[in-house]
């Protein structure tokens, strides 16, 4: 019996490593351990073994069975590995380009806007939003703009017919006209009318001017405005904010300066310049970047805040202008054409 088993194992050890496919393996397996297999046949001979030898023979058979199974397992694993390897195909040429589209790109105006919002969020400004269609009250009256101010002229501002109805944009005064907002300051008014101070918001958004489109003008463009209303807000705080914003955006060596100016909704008012010597295509020591000032008491009166208690500042700037400065873009129309060769430069 022992010789038979040894011979069987030797035969299996010779045959199994050469098997290359699953069918061959299955038939080989059947020949050894199947119902009519050689090992099975030997096991059936156990009945003829004298009783006293049975434990020893049984042990031999079990050992042989275990070794045969190990050989079968190894053969099967080898076949399975070979099958997986066959699925892979030849090695890749890693230098071929990827063929999926992309990557996608965020528009440069979005990038500049989000960067400004991030900088302002750090010092507590929440991003506010408001409708682009506005009523005269929110765009002009509440902002201390006299009725005959040139900005209100039909030459400069887009109006809607008096019959126009906007279902989700509230009017303040019956009979006032709808228009396309000329600045995002209307968001300040809506925010202040919604609740009491303190308020600290930044409102980026699209605005409209009735203007010829050329390299620096566009019928719609984007602004970003900040408003802070609290007790004891001062001119010095406003200057500190502007210094902080542009040092964050352009580096710590960036400086700002205020030039006294005039806006109807702030007093005192300033234009803001920044040093921009390291920006592309800039050859002046100071670049005008926006306007700001202390909220005019008449604006507080319009929204029901007591100007004796509350003070505040506001700052506004054009996002296209900022992006043009930052990236050295010399024509505003690029932003609206969306040539992919343009968009991909700012990814």
């Amino acid at each position: 019996m022992q010789d038979q088993l040894t011979a069987l194992l030797a035969k299996a050890a010779a045959e199994l490593p050469a098997i290359a496919s699953r069918p061959d393996f299955e038939s080989a397996k059947a020949r050894y351990v199947g119902p009519n297999g050689e090992l099975t046949a030997l096991m059936k001979q156990m009945g003829t073994v004298p009783k006293e030898q049975r434990p020893a023979v049984g042990k031999l058979i079990n050992e042989a069975k275990g070794r045969l199974q190990a050989q079968l397992d190894a053969a099967l694993a080898r076949i399975a590995d070979a099958e997986l390897a066959a699925q892979l195909g030849p090695p890749v040429d890693a230098s071929l380009p990827a063929t999926d589209a992309g990557p996608g790109t965020r528009h440069p105006l979005t990038q500049v806007r989000e960067e400004m919002c991030r900088i302002l969020r750090k010092v507590g400004f929440a991003v506010a939003d408001g409708p682009e269609v506005e009523s005269e009250y929110y765009c002009f009256d509440a902002l201390n703009t006299p009725i005959d101010h040139p900005a209100r002229d039909e030459k400069d501002t887009f109006y809607f017919p008096t019959t126009a109805r906007f279902g989700n944009i509230s009017k303040k005064v019956a009979g006032e006209k709808y228009l396309l907002r000329t600045h995002t300051s209307s968001v300040q008014i809506r925010t202040m009318l919604k609740g009491p101070p303190p308020i600290r918001i930044v409102s980026p958004g699209r605005v409209y001017r009735r203007d010829t489109t050329d390299a620096t003008h566009s019928a719609n463009f984007h602004q970003l405005e900040c408003l802070y209303v609290d007790r004891n807000v001062t001119v010095r705080d406003l200057k500190a904010l502007l210094d902080y914003i542009f040092a964050s955006l352009l580096g710590p060596e960036t400086k700002t300066r205020f030039r006294p100016h005039y806006f109807g909704y702030t007093e005192p008012s300033f234009e803001v310049d920044l040093t921009a010597s390291h920006l592309p295509k800039v050859n002046k020591p100071w670049i005008e970047i926006g306007g700001c000032g202390m909220v005019d008491p008449s604006v507080f009166e319009a929204v029901g805040y007591d100007p004796e208690i509350w003070t505040g500042y506001a700052f506004g700037m054009g996002l296209e202008r900022l992006a043009m400065l930052l990236y050295g873009i010399d024509d505003i129309r690029y932003f609206y054409q969306n040539d992919l060769r343009f968009l991909k430069q700012f990814a």
Partner: protein, 821 residues
Amino acid sequence: MKISLNWLRDYVQLDASVDEIARAITFLGFEVEAVVSTAAPRLEHVVVGEILTRARHPNADKLSVCTVDVGPAGGVKTIVCGATNCDAGNRVLVALPGAVLPGNFAIKLSKIRGQESQGMMCSPDEIGMGGEHSGLLLLEGRPALGTPIHEALPPGDTVFDLEITPNRPDCLCHLGIARELAAWFKLPLVYPQEKFRGDLSEAPALPGLLAGVRVDSPEDCPLYTAHLITGVKIGPSPSWMQERLKAVGLRPINNVVDVGNYVMLETGQPLHAFDARRLGGNQIIVRRAADGEKITTLDGKERTLNGRMLVIADAQRPVVIAGIMGGENSGVADDTTDLVLECAIFRRQSIRGTSRQLGLGSDSSYRYERGVDPHGTLEAAYRAIDLILETAGGRVAGPAYRLGGDVPWQREIVVTHDYITERLGFDIPAAEMRAAFEALEFTITREEPTVHPARGPAWTVGIPSWRDDLDRPIDLVEEVLRLYGTERIPPAVVQAPGLVADDDPVVNFNRRVTEYLVGHDFHECVTYTLRPAREVATWVSQAAAQELALANPFVEDQTHLRPTLITGLLETLKLNQSRGVAAARLCESGRVFMEHNGQILECAAVAFLLAEPVGERVWRRREAPDFYTAKHHVCALAALAGVEVANAAAAPASGAYFGWQEGHAIAVGGIEGGWVARFGLLNLAMVRALGIEGRVLGGIFAILPEKLPAAAVPPRFKDFSLFPAALRDLAVVVAEDRPALEVQRRVAQTARTATAGAFAVENVALFDVYRGAGVPEGSKSLAFSLVYRSPARTLTDDEVNAAFQRLQDELVKTTGWQIRK
């Protein structure tokens, strides 16, 4: 507005450099747009020379060869010259070798057509003094030979081009700017001293020259003055006056007109001179025009007036459009001897309205629109009379007229040192504040200690009549800061006490959808909100398009609010294709405007296009996107707004597909319900008509801003079973036009009933759609995979089989659908 430095120096002794003055003007609040100097530049090796001889160039017809004496140091030079306006005896400026002229033009010894040239004689243009290139600058007054250029030419002037903000009409003149600079540099301001001050006791009475002045519209003309000057001689004004007018961009006309302009540029008060003999009836009547009344203005154009416009008329006809422009036939002419000098105040709104209606503006209307100080009117008239007598002769005659203008000016503002300090956030000594007020000619009528002795005083500040822009304490804060200098605001750290506020839901929505799409390889675009009428009409009904129209569009292709973002993206796609740039994935987020029941609703929206990448060639092509790609993205975008689109009712938008391809696109939701989604294939014919190659898929999701969730609600965890699932597949044959979603819902609902609550139907998912052999024509087979599971135990085959069989029986019984085995 142009301001001459020489002129300013009449009133304030400015010794500061031009740069310092420009900086002062800037920080006083007036933007310096340009600084132009007419002074000769300092150029080395450019000296005075005299042409000794001039002869024809032997080898060139248009050139001459001159000998030029440039003084003892340089001797006599031979110079080839192209100019024709010079001859022997002229003194000119000679650039000698070594000179570098503006434009980095270096002068060297050279040979011109075989003739040596030892320098160059200069035209004004060549030495940077502008003007024509037509000839040499011929020097007057025979300056000494060899004199350097800047000593040979007159000292010149410096002109500042300033932008004056609308609140400061007092600075639309030299005296106004001089007053500001005097305050800045702490220098005295000297006003012109008039000799004539209204005394007519020695003047002849000539009532025949001006028999009467009447103001019919005192509300539009609160002050009208008229003075008579007789015996003037019209001629050119003196050269000093012409120089100044030219320096600030005005053309000299004659002595009387020039005086009017000069006084306006000095004081800000416009004036007008009439020829007394040309006033019909020797009358002046200030009245509203009659509707349709006509006048031909000085610029030769006939203007038709209306009843809201103010005119100065004689007995018969209007002779001036008040405050704006004179008529052709009443002004001063060469033979004028008797003048009526008008100096008046007109209501700002009246002048602005008329100027705008006529599209006619002037230096005079510009000042009237912004506001002229009525308390300076007579001073200006006296000043003009002095200058006319000085430059045109004649004498003042009576009678003089003065109508209206008797409103006394008194304005006082009480402000405390404390108030100003609190607004500024830093301390300026009280004495410095007080000095600022006084420097600006505000009068401090009282100074009192405030109740808090440690704090500064309270001032009662008298505001001068020309500063109508100041009427509240806050206005004086700005005045103090202007003179203190905004550059001296001390730096500080941003104070940021926490304000707990979220970003607006619309802002968060735009951020999330853009992140999603850019993360899926889309390029974010920004397109115009205003679209052309013809385009809008292809996307919404005619009635809706009408509601979207602007009242006053500016250009023809920007007349309507956009009802969709798709059109802007199509335009972008077209632009890229036409430039040979492959663009396949474009997106935008922004506002769209949707009509519902005659109302427009402003919505937040996001849209994308999936186009064929025309022109792009790749070595291996991915599977092309289709309707379901668009559906996938729209569902994902809507989910970012908390809206589930996939299982919402989907239907063609009430038969109106507009820009979408019928049968291959769908509308879900409705804006009346708060949101709407549309997606699928864009109309093939429309896309082709736009000149776009290839098929284009698109999707848009729009939502009312007020429907966006203010803050994300944290999801609640739901427990799930850890026991094994039992899977069964079911194929049903249904009519071709039956939506899969409906079948799926029916299968799921029936399956749940069939388990009788004994265990759960965890999922019913469609995994195959089959048409062909074994399925009748006009039908389709939909195959679903069902997942059965119990939260408490492992299910047995028998109970699942029973439930599955009940499902099939029930489906067949209630729907008539066939089960495909």
